[in-house]
Symmetry: C2
Subunit: 332 residues, 2 copies
């Protein structure tokens, strides 16, 4: 019997660590979900990762040919070397040679990519890109922070040192914007992330003019962007104003990107993107006003929510070994 190929992908997050086996004919064959043992240090986390990879190799290598192993990791990363540079979500990992470490432990080649880039890659090949029949897109991942990934002609554009695609650090509110974890202020991230939504809600509550949000905090002090979205959907105008602000910030950032890159597709994923119906009118208002290229190409420029959901990162890592020339050091 001829065996088909499979890949192993890793979705390394600050909270969860998932390892999957994937084949192009069957999709995800298997998933091993683990917690990321950050408190035990990076050696413990990479040991967990390698053990799970070995389990999947033991399970599938007898029947199928391994096409490769890839890890989607929080950044900033130097690529293709796969060395972390002060990653905010992996404290203590600065300078850690993730790729070399895992390759050494497994005795096999491993690819490393930015987690938002692999999610964008999956969205392009299996999600909204496939649905619309396009092979270039920019994806915004609106979660705790705002990540991003750019796919050009079916390949990840990660820049010359692997740090491209950081659309969360597009400049939006040049003056008077909220401080950003990157050291700047007014970036998209503090204005369109779940963290930003919570901060905007806290600021409104502090001003004493948002009774609905105040009641939400009294009932649930740990409330998040999701509860603010639910409140907005129930008609609370203060919660709606927060998401309208998110939409404006996204529209301003998108206008800069549309004018610069003229891509056919911009996809919004992550938890905050679930409030699409609430924030998208403000997004399109700003985008239309600020991008003449959007106005000229509105029929061919799509801005939509993502379709893949939380599996995008794992799927993207699994897809990487099937492609060639995906890293910054290679030709697009």
């Amino acid at each position: 019997m001829t065996s088909s190929t499979f890949t192993i992908g890793v979705d390394l997050g600050g909270t969860n660590l998932r390892i999957g086996a994937y084949s192009q004919d069957s999709g995800l064959l298997d998933t091993i979900p683990l917690a990321t043992r950050l408190a035990d240090g990076r050696d413990a986390v990479t040991a967990d990762m390698c053990n799970a990879i070995r389990q999947l190799l033991g399970r599938y290598a007898p029947q199928r040919r391994l096409a490769g192993i890839a890890i989607g990791s929080p950044g900033p990363l130097e690529l293709p070397e796969g060395v972390l540079r002060r990653p905010p979500n992996l404290p203590g990992w600065d300078g850690f040679p993730l790729r070399r470490t895992v390759e050494g432990a497994l005795g096999r080649p491993v690819l490393v990519q930015n987690d938002a880039n692999v999610a964008a890659f999956a969205e392009c090949l299996l999600g909204r890109g496939k649905m619309l029949g396009v092979d270039s897109l920019c994806m915004f991942t609106l979660g705790t922070g705002v990540g991003g990934g750019i796919i050009l002609r079916g390949k990840i554009w990660d820049g010359v040192t692997g740090m491209g695609g950081e659309v969360g650090h597009l400049n939006i509110w040049t003056e008077g914007g909220m401080p950003c974890g990157c050291g700047s202020q007014g970036c998209l991230e503090p204005h369109a992330s779940a963290t930003g939504v919570r901060k905007m809600a806290d600021a409104m509550i502090a001003r004493g003019t948002a009774p609905g949000l105040e009641a939400l905090r009294a009932a649930n002090p740990a409330f998040s962007a999701r509860e603010v979205a639910e409140l907005a959907a129930d008609g609370d105008t203060d919660a709606q104003a927060i998401y309208q602000s998110v939409g404006r910030s996204l529209g301003i950032g998108l206008a800069s990107l549309v004018n610069t890159l003229n891509l056919p597709l911009y996809v919004l994923g992550g938890g905050v993107a679930k409030a699409w119906d609430i924030f998208s009118p403000a997004l399109f208002e700003q985008l239309t006003q600020r991008s003449y290229i959007y106005r000229l190409t509105s029929g061919t420029t799509h801005v939509t929510p993502s379709v893949l959901g939380p599996d995008a990162g794992l799927l993207g890592a699994c897809l990487l070994p099937f492609t060639t020339a995906i890293s910054g050091s290679q030709s697009v």
Copy 2:
């Protein structure tokens, strides 16, 4: 005797029309400089262009093989079709099928590209890109407006409909910025173009607090960005403040691009870029403050003035036929 190949390039501007013959071994073989007879209409301009092309064909086709003909044209353009869309610098040309018209007149295939894109292409292959040994860059052309071109791995990235690279319409001053010809406000163009410099000078004069600029206008009512730069170089603090503002706007725009694209090189060309020494400190201050990727990669991220000067557009058009896959419809 084996003949080498040659190309014909056209640099179509709102004022000047230049047609050149080029070979890779000898560079520019010949240049025909004409005025762009805009007042006589687009048919007159394209007739002038085609006549000059025929002259060069008559002169060089007997000895060398023609590798192709390409036109660098003001945008917006739909590419690869080469149809103009409300071009601000070619009034009356909206909807004009430039490529088809010239192909019909010559009976030969012709490539059409955006003028700022071909200038960026030349700067990459023959200018600063070649000097630094990199094959990706973004070029800003700071002239009457602010044009731009993006080269990725040696190929023009002009987006899906040919309108990519418009860095003049990066959002810089979201609130309180100057109105832009594109219909938005606060774009890079009104804050970093020669037109913008003149407007800033006029505003300062109107406030009555800029004696040096006032004297300049009294002596030369048609003064331009160049004279403001000379005044700044002579120590006039008001003129210096204008260029510091240009530098800040450029630095803010560059920060968004560095974070998004992580290119190895950003080149500033056009007349305003000659004031590099005056505006670049403010540029680097903003870029360093607003881009953590620049701070992480400052050794591999170069921001420099261009080296080719006003020939860049013509050279870029001449180079286009030597490459493959340069248009938005083809794979990068």
